[in-house]
Amino acid sequence: MIFDIISIILCLAGAFFFLGGTVGLLRFPDNYSRLHALTKADNLGLGFIVLGLMFTSSALPEIIKMGLIWLLALVGSSSACYFIGHYIYRLPSQEEE
């Protein structure tokens, strides 16, 4: 029962961070700030949700698997952030020339 409450609190925190990421994506004026809002806030929200799901999970392999999925999403998302940022960075410098 106490684990359910902890899980609900952590999942709500994760949903809040996802909401922040989406609002940032919709409202920020710049390419870079959109990228910044999305990659950081969403991965934190995913981490909170995975942590919340871990509390109600019963088997140890499931918990480890969810943690590994979060790590893969973290690595993939941050490197994707770097690639897109590099792409945007080189785009306007070419237009100015």
Binding site: L25, S57, I69, L91
Partner: protein, 92 residues
């Protein structure tokens, strides 16, 4: 508990629907790719929550695949559009 998880999945799905507006509106292709990244991360979260709510562990494999395909999509986008920049950019 199951009801809460399903409601959470619906909320995350609404986030994806809101992100679609940026896909339509986005001024540059990079913006569209950024929102595709939103779909990847949120999709992983939705699938993990659904796997817990429906007690269907195999859905986690789909979440694993989402996390992998997100970086593949971004990589192919960057690889496809970079050589045009590279020719006129800092060439050797």
């Amino acid at each position: 508990m199951q009801i809460f998880y399903l409601a959470l999945a619906c909320f995350l799905l609404l986030n994806i629907l809101a992100g679609l507006w940026r896909v339509m509106q986005g001024p540059t292709p990079a913006d569209r790719m950024v929102s595709a990244q939103l779909f990847g991360t949120t999709g992983v979260a939705i699938l993990l929550v659904l796997a817990q709510a429906l007690e269907a562990p195999y859905i986690r494999n789909a979440a694993l695949l989402f996390a992998l395909l997100m970086i593949m999509a971004v990589l192919s986008f960057v690889r496809k559009s970079t050589p045009k920049q590279g020719q006129t950019g800092d060439g050797p």
